[in-house]
């Protein structure tokens, strides 16, 4: 198997080995990872970028294997974050062994990556995965021959059923301990012209003129690997050469060599190199693979014929999307109610134990700040867990790529990727899981655009506001129309903004849509459960702390300065709450903002309620109730509150309130997840401020024109 057995079996000095898993997307890499580590794993973000890496530990006697699941990539060039993360890990962390997971049912394309890994000169074990699918397809692979060309042992595996995992582990340890020596892989022949240029460059690098590059080379692989990468116009390495002063000779030579190859072949060097490497992979595949039986039409193709059918495809998609929505929100709604009831009960219990006379401020902080804040974090948990379950299902079965295939034409029109559709749809339920759902997008620009316009999808928390306001001013029919109009306004604005961002901040070449349509596969329970759990836990940890902090801040704005009622005034609790809110910072700011918001038709009461809505949109309704000194529970249906609103404001103001609530200031949970998912506060706050300014502008125009035309003033 391309291995030489060493005679002396010295005891390894090192007992912890670092093992990196590399492989194509959809190669079953994650199932191998799960099979190796079980549930002893955690999700991490690599170096602050949004690419997920996962890490787990496997103990085998005295030996501890630290296993890192690198992002799935088709290549190791430096063109996408995933590729850079995977490659940097191999170069910088120098894992003891790289396990290359290869989808045996799709050998040629997978071998392209294997060839690159072999070129890097890392110690490697190949897991030839999907052995079951290969058998179904009638494919047989000559393991010895494959091992020889790649210079690594090849172990057939079925990750979903743990087949071959023990042998894989044995081989990893044997390679790591040096008990097995890897043979040199077969070299890719790039043709004499490319080879000549590689040699020239490698010599310059070896000559030590380019010390940074040389260090890089010594660290990672041979100097000819660095030379090859430089010829391929590798961004990361080119950047290093560009910055290093002593690298001028190398830099000039790279330029000359690339020029020469282009003149000779009329194609750039990276194309030439890729072609030869693919030729090499193609050659290996042809050499080692035999098809024993004539392939029947595969089950996967038959499923696909229905699911992406020209006529049936879209209706089936609509049904599946409805089911996704149903799963996330309808099924998630009872546990959400339990959580609300639970935090409510806890709050009541604490309130019962802790009389209002002792430390009233601390009491209020605990009740309205901490318990309400924690409640605000965990209340999303059922939705989020179910969303991640739905996404894991869609991704693991292979349908996600088909969904993108089906609706890409629509999304392209907006300037987005087909995969943006699902997070957008989820956004109508709740923006927070919608933003977490943008993880399905591989391209950062698509992901950021989707994330930034997502709050414009009218989420579930906008509905109580729409219901309160629309029914206060309109008949049932008109109200339905007004609410529907709000949804449409949000969608239209999202489209316009997405298009606008495409020609401004996210300008430049469109991201390639080029997307693999993987075979349909049955997901494993373990993988679904792990996905759901890990991602949800991550949300709790990262977004949760921010949400909690903002809720305490908002609490402070409503609680200070503290209002002490005059005992002789005999105020009811509701009246005390009203006075407290009116005199609090929130109330004062509401008043201060009055001159600014009067052109929108808002007075201080609406402003104050809007400040409350910064925490969570639906708070607007209860704040409005508080302003009118009403109870907290029945506001949305409260006839009295509606009558008050009807008396104090015009229908035009009502429309403007709905518009402003739709467009402005995404809730704090959204801010927290955007911060986390985009990796920077700048995006989260930029979005918040941008949307608020936009809301102001649009509401201003609507109110002023409405007034001028004398519409909705009655």
């Amino acid at each position: 198997m391309g291995i030489v057995q060493k005679t002396d079996k010295s005891i390894p000095e090192k007992t912890t080995f670092v093992v990196a898993l590399a492989g194509n997307p959809n190669s079953g890499k994650t199932t191998i990872f799960n099979a190796l580590t079980g549930s002893r794993q955690r999700v991490g973000n690599y170096g602050g970028v949004t690419v997920e890496t996962r890490e787990g530990v496997l103990r085998h006697g005295d030996i501890r294997l630290r296993i890192i699941d690198l992002p799935g990539t088709y290549s190791l060039s430096a063109y996408s974050i995933e590729e850079i993360v995977a490659r940097d890990f191999i170069i910088q962390e120098q894992p003891d062994v790289v396990v290359n997971v290869v989808d045996g049912s799709n050998l040629e394309r997978n071998l392209y990556l294997s060839v690159q890994l072999a070129e890097m000169g890392t110690k490697m074990v190949v897991a030839l995965n999907m052995a079951d699918e290969m058998r179904q397809k009638g494919l047989r692979v000559d393991l010895k021959a494959l091992g020889r060309t790649l210079g690594a042992p090849v172990i057939p595996t079925i990750g979903t059923r743990r087949h071959g995992i023990d042998r894989l582990v044995d081989n990893i340890i044997a390679i790591a301990c040096g008990e097995l020596d890897a043979l040199k892989p077969a070299r890719v022949n790039y043709g004499k012209d490319v080879n000549a240029e590689v040699e020239k460059l490698a010599e310059l690098i070896n000559a030590g003129q380019a010390d940074t590059v040389a260090r890089q080379a010594r660290q990672a692989a041979s100097s000819s690997w660095v030379a090859l990468k430089l010829l391929e116009n590798d961004n990361v390495l080119a950047e290093k050469v560009h910055r290093c002063v002593t690298c001028e000779a190398v830099r000039d030579q790279v330029h000359l060599s690339r020029q020469r190859l282009t003149n000779l072949y009329g194609d750039d060097a990276e194309t030439l190199i890729t072609e030869h490497r693919y030729g090499h992979a193609h050659g290996i595949a042809r050499q080692v693979m035999r098809r024993s039986v004539r392939a029947k039409i595969e089950l996967s193709d038959r499923i696909d014929a229905v699911l992406t059918h020209r006529v049936l495809g879209l209706p089936i998609f609509a049904v599946l999307m409805y089911l996704t929505f149903w799963l996330v929100f309808t099924l998630g709604s009872p546990p959400m109610e339990w959580i609300k009831a639970g935090t409510g009960a806890l709050s009541n219990w604490v309130a019962g134990q802790w009389t209002a006379q002792t430390l009233p401020l601390v009491r209020s902080l605990v009740l309205d700040g901490v318990i309400a804040g924690v409640g605000g974090v965990i209340v999303f948990l059922p939705n989020i867990m179910l969303l991640f379950l739905a996404i894991a299902l869609l991704e693991d079965t292979g349908y996600m790529a088909r969904a993108a295939f089906l609706v890409d034409r629509l999304m392209k029109w907006v300037g987005l990727h087909g995969k943006s559709f699902i997070p957008m749809l989820i956004g109508f339920g709740c923006t927070v899981p919608g933003i977490l759902g943008t993880r399905v997008l591989d391209n950062r620009r698509d992901r950021m655009t989707t994330m930034l316009v997502l709050p414009l999808m009218s989420c579930g928390a906008r509905l109580p506001i729409y219901m309160l306001i629309s029914r206060a001013f309109f008949t049932a029919n008109e109200a339905a129309l007004a609410v529907f109009a709000m949804y449409i306004v949000g969608i239209v604005l999202a489209i316009v903004l997405a298009k606008l961002m495409r020609i401004t901040i996210f300008r430049g070449q469109a991201a390639p849509f080029v997307m693999e349509l993987p075979p349909y596969r049955r997901p494993t329970l373990l993988s679904l459960a792990l996905h759901m759990w890990q991602r949800s836990w991550h949300y709790l940890k990262k977004a949760g702390t921010i949400i909690l902090a903002i809720s305490i801040l908002l609490w402070a704005m409503m609680a200070f300065p503290h209002f002490t009622p005059d005992p002789t005034a005999n105020l009811t609790d509701k009246q005390v709450a009203q006075k407290q809110l009116e005199r609090s910072w929130a109330g004062r700011i509401g008043r201060i903002l009055e001159p600014l918001t009067r052109p929108l038709g808002f007075d201080w009461k609406i402003n104050t309620a809007m400040i409350g809505a910064i925490g969570a949109k639906e708070v607007f309704v209860s704040q409005m109730g508080m302003v009118y000194a009403m109870g907290e529970q029945e506001e949305a249906d409260s006839v009295q509150l509606r009558e008050n609103l009807h008396r104090d404001y015009s229908p035009l103001t009502g429309i403007c309130v709905m518009l402003f609530c739709l467009i402005s200031a995404p809730c704090m949970a959204t801010v927290a997840v955007v911060r986390r998912e985009s990796g920077s506060w700048a995006w989260a706050l930029g979005q918040w401020i941008g949307l608020t300014i936009l809301a102001y502008g649009i509401t201003l125009v609507v109110y002023q024109i409405g007034q001028w035309l004398n519409v909705g003033m009655g």
């Binding site: 030729g279 193609h282 595949a285 080029v514 693999e516």
Partner: protein, 78 residues
Amino acid sequence: MNDAVRLSQLEPGAKGRIVKIEAQSLIRRRLLEMGLVRGAEVTKVKLAPLADPAEYIVAGSHVSLRREEAWDVLVEPL
């Protein structure tokens, strides 16, 4: 290369061999990485319900390309 056509112009079910890729930079790179290299055989499987994108088989795997991406790939029909 006289009879070369655009990959996007192939009829569903038709096959072609790639003779040239005209796409630039990032898209070119992605196409190459997915196995759309000179000399590779490509089969057009079907169009999406809204007539774009289309599904192709190349290097043994199914790949979805938008019309403008497939336009930049020249093939000789087989």
